[in-house]
Symmetry: C2
Subunit: 136 residues, 2 copies
């Protein structure tokens, strides 16, 4: 099943609220930031947000950034959550660029295979400065 087979209409109310919050954000948001933004929409407890996030991540609509303890809406055109995704996180403006790279994915699979490691999930997060923030 493709990750994006879930359309917006499939989502529950809370899932839609969280999805919208992430989609309209410039950068990653923490669960508690999302909660604060959605207080007026009936969100009251962290767990409501975390439950929605869990599902959205499962559907491949949202990614979790391990190094930030935060979440971003998937912006990759043909995102397949099974692929290795590379996140480039700007340490100045906090924006995140999300890309895939066939060579790198292949490389990671090769490394795992050579170590006889049964790969389940890859996390690749790069920290640095995005083009816009290097001009300072």
């Amino acid at each position: 099943m493709s990750a994006h087979s879930h359309t917006h209409s499939d989502l529950t109310k809370n899932q839609s609220l969280v999805m919208d919050a992430l989609s309209s954000s410039e950068g990653p948001l923490s669960a508690y930031t999302i909660l604060d933004q959605l207080r007026d929409n009936g969100m009251r407890a962290p767990l409501q947000v975390y439950r929605a996030l869990d599902k959205l991540v499962e559907y491949g609509l949202v990614h979790r950034l391990e190094s930030l303890n935060a979440f971003v809406a998937c912006r990759h055109p043909n995102c397949d959550s099974n692929k290795t995704i590379i996140f480039m996180i700007c340490e100045a403006c906090d924006k995140v660029n999300e890309i895939t790279d066939a060579a790198l994915a292949k490389n990671i699979n090769k490394i795992a295979a050579s170590e006889k490691f049964a790969l389940n999930k890859s996390t690749v997060e790069l920290r640095g400065l995005c083009p816009a923030c290097q001009t300072d």
Copy 2:
């Protein structure tokens, strides 16, 4: 300066305690687990552990695993903390294998360059099953 230019004798008391705890552990430890293990040695507050960990990471003796919020002693023979390190984390036994791969490092640098991203630090963490745990 090479990451491992800091020998054990350079370390302060707290740093040594934390280093020993990590070195003698089979897998990664959280800061609070380390704290609990060292209560009898005078460690009383999280900050004492975090301060030691900060220095040990800075010296390249310890790595932080972003996806686990935990820390491991560096076991790579000629570890240079500037290199891209690949962590393979077993989801069954929690042991961590730490390797470097020149091709992958090159690949990541190439990707960053092609996106005009000024790379500062790379996090590559693979989740799955180690060889020993696949026999189940």
